[in-house]
């Protein structure tokens, strides 16, 4: 193919024949905005952002689909093109939650809230796990439009969580089609496509089947290519944008696929395919399981030795010395069993140790069914009494078999029944935590960099063996790094081919990692029919606890819940709160009372889905029981006559100010209620609030209703209008309350805020809810929740609130409901069409 020359923006450009105008422009360094185009995909022409003008051609063709031709004169910039692109962007954003993009407080808010809130449906950037990587957001911010002329048409799709490993929030989807196109490119027949038409068009599988049964192999390419936060890796999503990416390889089977290890603060958050090609694709294990194994909360983190019946944690020296003193006694009756998933360097050192001690070395490869003949032979030998001691690099031996031995050392990363019965347990660093090399079935040697930090005191196996050997006085183990070993490994044989094609089907995956059932540690794998050890079922009495009488999603993520709790209802007062536990084992979480009825014995709450505990609560159906309700807690707000009182509510605070407004109005005050939401479709309880206030004023961050901005803007307007405000009470997120406080401080108007620090018991015992008010330490649970807003140490409050942000992310459930997989649309919960969005 020859080259052609054309003119783009007055610049002469030479490109290969067959390139599109967009490609030609890119080569010439000319940027044309686009979102559906991707370098690894065929032209599609859906987003219509890349329109250009071509001399002699009518209209505005898209540069991504128009082939460049010789002598063409192209304009990529003109006033009309800018208008057209901005309007198209405006249309695109009108179908995508956008209030954060046009919010006047965006920068301040993002400074205070660097991480996204772990909400259910994304209703704005602040609730979107993809915020830091979103191409649409980037394009919108670059375009600089900060006002939308069109209302947001929020579709209120339920977040799809029934499939393993991925969360899909089609409220964010702009139908750029990248996902199904990459699926088609990599796998030939796509598992997903656009289903339905027009307004109802969205991505989905044929006949709404679960992805597990739709031909999807869970390679994750759709997630990795999605420019918005629609398709996400459930495990990785809330960690935010990874800060490092290294080329590495998967060692879970003989294929040894290359992958990118993505890390954040030296923690492995995800593994991804290295390029969008079939050849480079990964299986479900390689894409999703590695990070979950490495980050398993059950990881072994301390050495331990057996004393009597118990295993006692100890330091490394103690454990190594015990092993070093015992092992030399066994020589030929010692067996060393290691997994093939360890690095070549580790296995070289294991082999050297075996050789020096005269022991047998058994290397266990990975397989689909997990019955490796190497292990079978070894177990048979063991039963015959051939060995009296073992070093086991994984879950290869049952507790019974180990008990029959004179001595056993387990070097592993995860607990097992075998490890519990071992004389010495040494915690090992694995996978992305270990530096080394690995040879795959085709003989290629792949580099494995250590990119994440091992948990606790876990060490790489090469180091453990060297230290153990040195303690035994053996020579030839004086290595300072795995790299020093690499050159000695020489030409080790390639592993035996894996007995399946993991990338082609969900039933072809390796079932074990270091002898452990992979599905035991990565539970979503059960959905693929992979074997696992059954979990102990939690049984809770259906008669105990507090019955849920009513539950509905009033606006996306915001649930109204009515609970039978007579003792709380009897004593509740405005401004008080309760602490709920969804189950016996749940976290305790505080919620302000929205309403109560002493005669009925009921209380009402507004619960916003922002993480694990709130999700547990809102997932309970009507008729189910909340395990614990304690309250009423906190100091009630005094209902005194003051004159004109302004109450500001945002998010859950809209519900929380309701009883306060009612009480203050009954006390004879002139009550002005101001509520804010990021967009009009997120406002609720308007009718109820109208009945308890003299005036109801609305503010939205995107200006879709009422005043554009927040409570503070409305408040300042009121004061400027000459309203003599005696008191201002603000309830909402910490940022909103802080902004309110900053607005009222120069005006000298007494302001109260309901602080929301992390709280555990709610009775003043634990001190978790400590806040500083005018330099004095107070407890929000018993001294609050209402405090003088102008005395609050806000920075401290923000930092204390975010103290457990990593744990909060780790706590997000990864399990899938296997029943829901079979009946994907049986019981979804959520509001769907019943949601009162406008």
């Amino acid at each position: 193919m020859g080259t052609i020359s054309l003119t783009i923006d007055g610049q002469g450009v030479e490109v290969q024949e067959g390139k599109t105008i967009l490609q030609a422009s890119r080569e010439a360094g000319i940027v044309i905005p686009t979102i559906c185009d991707h370098k690894d995909l065929n032209p599609y022409g859906a987003c219509r952002m890349c329109v250009v003008e071509i001399e002699g051609v009518r209209g505005f063709p898209t540069s991504c689909t128009t082939p460049a031709s010789d002598g063409m004169v192209v304009k990529t910039q003109s006033a009309e093109l800018t208008t057209l692109r901005n309007r198209t962007l405006e249309l695109m954003l009108s179908g995508h939650p956008n209030s954060c993009l046009v919010c006047v407080h965006r920068e301040a808010c993002e400074k205070y809230r660097p991480g996204a809130t772990k909400a259910g449906r994304a209703t704005r950037c602040g609730f979107c796990s993809n915020r830091e990587e979103c191409s649409l957001r980037e394009m919108a911010l670059r375009a600089g439009e900060n006002e939308l002329g069109l209302p947001t048409l929020y579709s209120a799709h339920n977040v799809e969580r029934s499939d393993p490993f991925m969360d899909r929030d089609y409220n964010l989807c702009i139908l750029c089609g990248r996902c199904w196109r990459i699926c088609e490119k990599i796998h030939g027949k796509p598992a997903i496509s656009i289903i339905n038409r027009g307004k109802w068009a969205r991505l989905g599988t044929a006949f709404h089947k679960s992805h597990v049964f739709s031909g999807c192999t869970f390679c994750g390419s759709c997630i990795d290519i999605c420019p918005t936060g629609t398709l996400t890796d459930r495990f990785a999503r809330w960690y935010g944008k990874p800060d490092d990416r290294n080329l590495s390889a998967c060692t879970l089977c003989a294929e040894g696929c290359s992958l990118f290890a993505l890390t954040k603060s030296r923690r492995l958050v995800a593994t991804r395919m290295t390029s969008f090609q079939w050849e480079a694709s990964l299986c479900a294990l390689g894409r999703f399981a590695l990070a979950q194994i490495v980050n398993a909360p059950e990881r072994l983190i301390r050495p331990a030795v057996q004393e009597g019946e118990d295993q006692i944690p100890c330091d490394w020296d103690t454990a190594l010395e015990l092993a070093a003193s015992e092992l030399p006694r066994f020589t030929e009756s010692l067996a060393i069993v290691v997994s093939e998933s360890t690095t070549r360097e580790d296995r070289f050192l294991y082999a050297r140790l075996a050789e020096r001690l005269g022991a047998s070395l058994i290397v266990v490869p990975s397989s689909r069914n997990g019955v490796e003949k190497e292990l079978q032979g070894f177990t048979a030998d063991l039963e015959k009494g051939r060995f009296r001691a073992v070093i086991s690099g994984g879950d290869f031996l049952s507790a019974e078999l180990l008990k029959g031995l004179n001595f056993s050392v387990v070097i592993d990363c995860l607990p097992s029944s075998g490890a519990r019965g071992a004389k010495v347990v040494l915690p090992a660093a694995v996978l992305s935590e270990v530096e080394g090399t690995w040879r795959n079935v085709s003989g290629e040697v792949k580099e494995l960099p250590a990119v994440s930090l091992p948990p606790g005191q876990a060490r790489p196996e090469w180091q453990i063996i060297c230290q153990l050997a040195q303690k035994m006085g053996l020579e030839g183990f004086e290595f300072k790094s795995a790299r020093e070993v690499t050159s000695l490994v020489g030409s080790d044989p390639a592993p035996r081919p894996f007995d399946g094609e993991p990338r082609r089907g969900l039933r072809q995956l390796p079932s074990r990692f270091r002898g452990h059932l992979a599905a035991d540690w990565v539970r979503p794998l059960e959905a693929f029919g992979m074997p696992s050890t059954p979990l102990e079922e939690m049984t809770e009495s259906s008669k105990e606890g507090f019955e849920i009488l009513e539950r509905r999603e009033v606006v996306p993520n915001m649930y109204f819940i009515k609970i039978m709790a007579p003792q709380v209802a009897k004593f509740a007062k405005p401004g008080q709160f309760v602490i709920l536990m969804a189950r016996e084992t749940s976290e305790r979480s505080p919620f302000t009372l929205v309403d109560w009825n002493g005669a009925e014995g009921t209380i009402s709450l507004i619960i916003e889905e922002v993480g694990r505990s709130s999700r547990e609560l809102i997932s309970l159906p009507v008729g189910a029981r909340v395990a614990h309700v304690s309250g009423p807690l906190g100091m009630p707000l005094p209902m005194e006559k003051k004159g004109t009182v302004v109450l500001g509510g945002g998010c859950y605070g809209i519900g929380a100010i309701y009883p306060i407004a009612r009480g203050l109005r009954e006390a004879g005050n002139h009550v002005i209620v101001v509520i804010e939401a990021s967009s009009s479709y997120l406002l609720f309880m308007e009718d109820e609030l109208k009945t308890v206030s003299d005036e109801l004023i609305i503010a939205t961050k995107d200006g879709s209703r009422g005043t554009r901005g927040g409570v503070q803007e409305v408040f300042v307007n009121l004061v400027q209008r000459g309203v003599d405000v005696a008191m201002f009470v603000a309830v909402g997120c910490t940022f909103m309350m802080r902004m309110a406080a900053e607005a009222t401080k120069p005006l000298g108007i007494p302001t109260l805020v309901a602080l929301n620090p992390i709280m555990v018991d709610g009775t003043g015992m634990c001190g978790a809810c400590r806040v500083s008010i005018e330099g004095r330490t107070r407890f929000a649970c018993v001294d609050g929740p209402f405090f003088d807003a102008h005395g609050v140490d806000w920075d401290e409050l923000f930092s204390r609130r975010s103290a457990y942000s990593r744990e909060e992310i780790e706590a997000m459930p990864q399990m899938v409901d296997l029943n829901a997989l079979i009946h994907p649309h049986g019981s979804g919960g959520g509001c769907g069409s019943s949601c009162s969005h406008r």
């Binding site: 859906a46 198209t88 249309l91 002329g149 048409l153 496509s193 307004k199």
Partner: protein, 618 residues
Amino acid sequence: MSFKKIQEQANLEWEQFTRSKPLRVLIGSATCGRAAGSMEVMQAFEDELNKRSLTAQTGVHEVGCLGMCYAEVLVELTGADGRRVLYEGVGPGFVPTLVESHLVEGNPLLDKAMAVMEGEDLEGVAHFSQLPNIQHQVRVVMRNCGVIDPARVNHYIARGGYSGMHRALSMTPDQVVSEMTASGLRGRGGAGFPTGVKWGFARKSPGDVKYVICNADEGDPGAFMDRSVLEGDPHAVLEGLLIAGYAIGASQGYVYCRAEYPLAIERLEEAIEQMREKGFLGERVMDSSFSFDIKIKKGAGAFVCGEETSLMQSIEGKRGMPRSRPPFPAVSGLFGRPTNINNVETLASVSAIMEKGAQWYQGFGTEKSRGTKTFALAGKINRTGLIEVPMGIPLRTIIEDIGGGVPGGKKFKAVQTGGPSGGCVPAQFMDLPVDYEHLAEVGSIMGSGGMIVIDEESCMVDVARYFLTFTENESCGKCVPCRMGTQHLLKTLTDITEGCATPEQIGTMRKVGDSMKKASLCGLGQTAPNPVLTTLRYFEDEYRAHMEDRKCPAGVCRALITFHIDPDTCTGCMACASACPVDAISGEKKKTHHIDQDLCIRCGSCRQACKFNAVVVN
């Protein structure tokens, strides 16, 4: 068998059809006729003839649609005198009288007779060609509809069918293309691209495998031209496709027809089978070196699949979604091969042109828009149905003469041409010549031929809302301007009809409409705002009345109207009270009635029920 022999055989059969039996009954039984009960009428005829032992002497036949929907079921009777009389509105109960009087006694029933098709004049009954709605029509595409039995290929051949193909085979493909170019035929699917030029592109495009496709995915609400032709004369279309295949060098043709047209598909399947038997299809068509085959692809009814690139995706088994051009189908179409797509009506014209010559065809229409065009007349018009007129005919002739004007003496307000992709042409353009150029001048399009007549009692905002409901539903969702734009337009229109929109939103609608026109990927999105933009252009005051005064001048939008009873005109007849479904009307006999506004649901039943126009809308 030579084509001449085939023709002789066909003529024989046609002769038999027209003359062999002394009595004959023809029943219009396309889908429209069947919906009106033609199958029951046919059964009634058979029963009655059987009872009178007339079966042997009488031929009872199904024919296609004459286009007069308002007069279904249409029955043509030939008595012993050989005079053919067309009856309108025939129900099964009327059949015995008809048989008795006309067939047995030889006395045509004058009050039910619509026209004399052939033979001696009847007193007070016009000759068919002299009917006011027929005399302005020229039937090229519909030449056989309602005349022949569509299930018989010989009828078609006897009426000149397949001689066009026979003639084409005696020419080179290039000559056929030139003939088509010379005829001036323009694509009847809506865009009006010259057919000959289009064929020329596909002919010149390099490639050993090429395809021709007949686009029978008629989807405009209220349009049924293609269906009628396929049901009434399938061979006319298939012959056109055969000729197109020969002209561009294709050996495979497809008919993409929506599954909602089961009768059309049945007719096509029969016709293809007959073509094969006659040697018009398969290896060596008519003993020439040209080989050709036709497959039918059933569409699932997505409007966007009428767009050529979506249609091809659908044939390929993919989701029907348009793709950008270039490459044009003539270069890379179905399965990546050079492809030519023509609409049903175009192909039915092609077979006629090849039969009679380009010169003949040029005799109809205007200089830039040659030939005839079919229109589906619907809405507020007396004679709804299918018509075929020469291009350039004044709109007034269509509405007033052919259509018989607006019913009930109401005022004509506008006509929507081109369905949801078109625009409205207001009454002020009554004398507009109907052709591609003039329609475009006033902001509308020819489209595929839907014409929906709107009278003074129709609200233009509501009309626009109706079409946007359709396009919002039918947008494939691929490109942003169309998917989101239709939603915004519909939402705003709905807000207007519900009285909760502000005048500034007119600007927003114009802005959104403009973006859609300029930035949408395919014709659906580019034309979807037309109903809004043209109604805004000609009826902005009506929009403003909704927004500024919260009033619907036409009295349609329920949220903005109230019904009242005028005490001066009310006679107290109780008709409105008994028609009211919610018992909101009170009053005694001979006394003025009263509507309880709290109970009233503004359904308009009372207004319809009142014979004295005493129910007024505010």
